[in-house]
Symmetry: C2
Subunit: 253 residues, 2 copies
């Protein structure tokens, strides 16, 4: 277990430029959005995946896409743009459900979400953005480029089973204990805890979302004071939070 | 939409007494754990459901339980205590899955989680704790008893589909905009957001979990500075976050 800090702060950085372009230096932009100040070594910088995707060029001009027969068929059934469906299929390892205009997909990364994370909001008309190719690698690169190497979390909003509303989760992470495994610790009655593994990285992503709005141009947030949840090593990243399909009991099959 | 605050703090209160008993005055105990200070009107006090359950007497002595034939059968199949299974069945509207020693249940409240929220950690040997009968009502009562009426969130740890680790969610709330509905707002490209409804109350519960540990005796946390996410009215509560079974696309069926 990591010991929990007693208090932390969650602070939105200043807005980033409206349009992030492929090759932009995100570390420099984020440091500027922090007033030029260096982050502390036990901070986590939480960044919406969309700016990472844009800086990495993970954008598709739908006019250039030729939809397959399967994309055309799915698009007709779900009343969607066939080119957009083709991009979603290109990002998809398995379609979990296709119903009521929603495709729930296991992405090539293993994430299960609507449309395999392909999104058109905050993107130029006629284009869409896809998830970063390797979000943990993106997090490691950004961390390495930030002075004092704070932890980095790359976040996205996912729909959930059985609950309304989207929750922000970590799709990439570097330098953060992504889970806090409390199994084996003794509770206050001296009984061993059996099932308590806490998804710390998802909690950090969720906390960050409280201080920003999807339309405010504030994709970067710092969570300050995480103590030893921030690690010197980059660690396994948010990929460690992905549960293998054959181990999952909660999700649709 | 609510406008997001620019920054907030998350602070664990001092430990509460190790054993909360039925009838204990939680508002007084929580105020004492805050050094006697009054919370601000835009704070949210986040409390682990377990202390609420204990104060409300939602505890069962397993020695007093007579398991039904169905409980005996399920217990044998899942290698569990039949009395514990009977308590779980009493809290369950529908069993979603029973596999590998895990019962995933839709509780009488509508929450889907392992064992319908019935839990033995941090509880006296031979007893178990159940979820509060009406967690939103519990939140409203606690809010009314706290000076300055901060928002109140009652939290529990739930397993999730497709992801390792438990995430803290809101099972009860009073005085908080439980969702931030951004549909219809314009993104930075001037395009209307179509699917963005954020589960604010779950994010508050998740943020609170970053400053406590399940074994630390710190079941109460204050999230300070939530701005107009805290409302004068108690609002619909966390019940509004429960998605009806027939509207759900993500979950096991």
């Amino acid at each position: 277990m990591a010991s929990a800090p007693r208090a932390l702060t969650v602070r939105a950085l200043a807005p980033l430029p409206a349009e992030i372009a492929p090759g932009d230096d995100l570390a420099a932009l984020i440091t500027a959005a922090n007033g030029g100040a260096t982050f502390a070594p036990d901070d986590a910088v939480v960044v919406s995946h969309k700016v990472i995707s844009k800086a990495e060029g993970a954008l598709v001009d739908l006019a250039t896409v030729t939809p397959s027969a399967r994309a055309v068929e799915l698009a007709a059934a779900q009343d969607k743009d066939p080119a957009l469906i083709q991009v979603i299929l290109d990002q998809t390892a398995e379609i979990i459900r296709a119903e009521r205009g929603v495709l729930i997909c296991r992405s090539v990364h293993g994430f299960v979400s609507a449309n395999a994370g392909v999104d058109q909001s905050n993107v130029r008309d006629g284009w869409c953005v896809t998830l970063p190719v390797d979000p943990d690698a993106s997090a490691r690169r950004l961390r390495a480029a930030l002075p004092a190497r704070p932890a980095v979390v790359i976040a996205d909003s996912f729909g959930r089973a059985w609950r309304h509303g989207q929750a922000e989760i970590a799709i990439g992470a570097a330098g953060l204990s992504v889970v806090d495994d409390q199994r084996g610790d003794l509770d206050r009655e001296g009984r061993e805890m059996r099932a308590t593994v806490i998804a710390t990285a998802d909690h950090v992503a969720s906390a960050a979302d409280l201080v920003r709005h999807k339309t405010s141009g504030q994709p970067a947030v710092v969570v300050e004071g995480l103590g030893d949840a921030v690690t010197t090593d980059d660690g396994p990243g948010a990929g460690a939070l992905v549960r293998a399909a054959d181990e999952d009991l909660f999700g649709a099959r």
